[in-house]
Amino acid sequence: MNYEFPLVFFTALTQAAVGISLVAAWRETRTECIGLFSFRREWLTVFVLASLGLLASLFHLGDPKRAMTALVNLSNSWLSREGLVFGIFAFFALINIFRRSKLFVFAAAVFGIAGIVIQGLTYAPVSMPVISNAVPMCIFALSALCLGTSLTQMAEENGVSKMRTFLLVILVILLAALPFVWKGGDVLSQETAALWLSSVPFWGGIACLVLALVMSLIGRRCIVMGLLVLAGVILCRMTFFADTLHTATRIGMPY
């Protein structure tokens, strides 16, 4: 089974970084929160996660030494745009560690959102009809927000815990419902649904997310919850990359 681990870690870690930066940008708009947090540590976390994600993506390449040439086709390729935008995002995260300002915080957030949108388009190829739509973008955006609200030093009184609980519910429902929706589709969709439903990482990921949801509901805010969300996202992402069928797998057979 090819789980495409470099892509799994690239997408999950960059989404975690974007999620934390979005929470940071949201906090900038709320003056009562200023002073409560260690901004430097938070932006350091964003930078490290984004850098680790970008580093992980190199392991996906046959020739990582020439990774920079992946920025050549910006006019056509979503993958080129993805690399560029996440590079700029990591750059603004680095600036915010040393010289945080509202402008740079919002710039990081804007490039982070752009990165998630572009990622949603990069991993929605026409060759995989079940995800050649808005599904990847929705999964990636929800993952980023769930990770962001779980991994930051958020004050519970800011209403973030309710938002996190709500987002986790939506993410779990979306992920768990997808294979059942696909079961009603064509042969390729049905086969993809069967693969997802029989995937151990998929159900393991759902279990991690449900556990994190329970912890969020009962108000247990700790690092374990954030790690559970990260584990859930990574496990489900393994299924996303390994068990989503390509049209070429059924050439000569009915679709």
Binding site: G62, S77, G252, P254, Y255
Partner: protein, 185 residues
């Protein structure tokens, strides 16, 4: 008007000998585990007869190639005559083209660590020769046509068992297999 070269696969004539795939492998000196052309037998759900029918497929040299749009290093080029050429020397092996092509045309060369695919033997075409697969086909089931010159209404673009990707507009055309004739003694 410029040409738009395409493979025409006569499924009624194809006997599934795989001579086209072997000629391609031989001419292009492919690695042992690599194929640029593959012969797929049609499933019985599509062709429910004792005789078999086949889809001989390589790159479809699409009008709007998914590989070309997906490649971050701009290693794909579409020529004036419609042939989509992959430049292996600039490929970094990201496999995004492999993920994106609905026909599975680009393949990953695990020794050289890059993608590669059928080039329609453009060097041979430029020299006035036929692609190796076309030349090798013993039943003339595989031919090279210019889509701007043939009457396209006579041919099938999306036979059963072949992904119908209208946005990409693949150039390969097909003649469907006829029902086998039953001769009773």
């Amino acid at each position: 008007m410029s040409k738009r070269y395409a493979f025409l696969v006569d499924m009624d004539r194809c006997i599934g000998c795989r001579g086209c795939a072997m000629a391609c492998k031989n001419f292009n000196q492919l690695a042992p585990d690599m194929v640029w052309r593959q012969v797929y037998p049609l499933d019985e759900a599509i062709y429910p007869h004792r005789e078999r029918a086949f889809l001989s497929l390589a790159c479809n040299h699409c009008d709007r190639p998914a590989c070309l749009e997906a490649c971050p290093t701009a290693s794909y080029e579409k020529r004036e005559d419609g042939i989509v050429v992959h430049h292996q020397e600039t490929c970094i092996g990201c496999t995004n083209c492999i993920r994106s092509c609905p026909y599975g045309a680009p393949r990953f060369n695990s020794q050289e660590k890059h993608a590669e695919k059928c080039s329609m033997c453009y060097e041979r075409i430029d020299a006035g020769l036929l692609p190796a697969c076309v030349q090798a086909c013993p039943t003339q089931a595989l031919t090279l046509v210019d889509l701007n010159e043939i009457d396209e209404s006579k041919y099938e673009q999306y036979p059963a068992g072949y992904p119908a990707m209208k946005r990409l507009n693949p150039s390969t055309r097909f003649i469907l297999p006829k029902k086998p004739r039953i001769v009773r003694g």
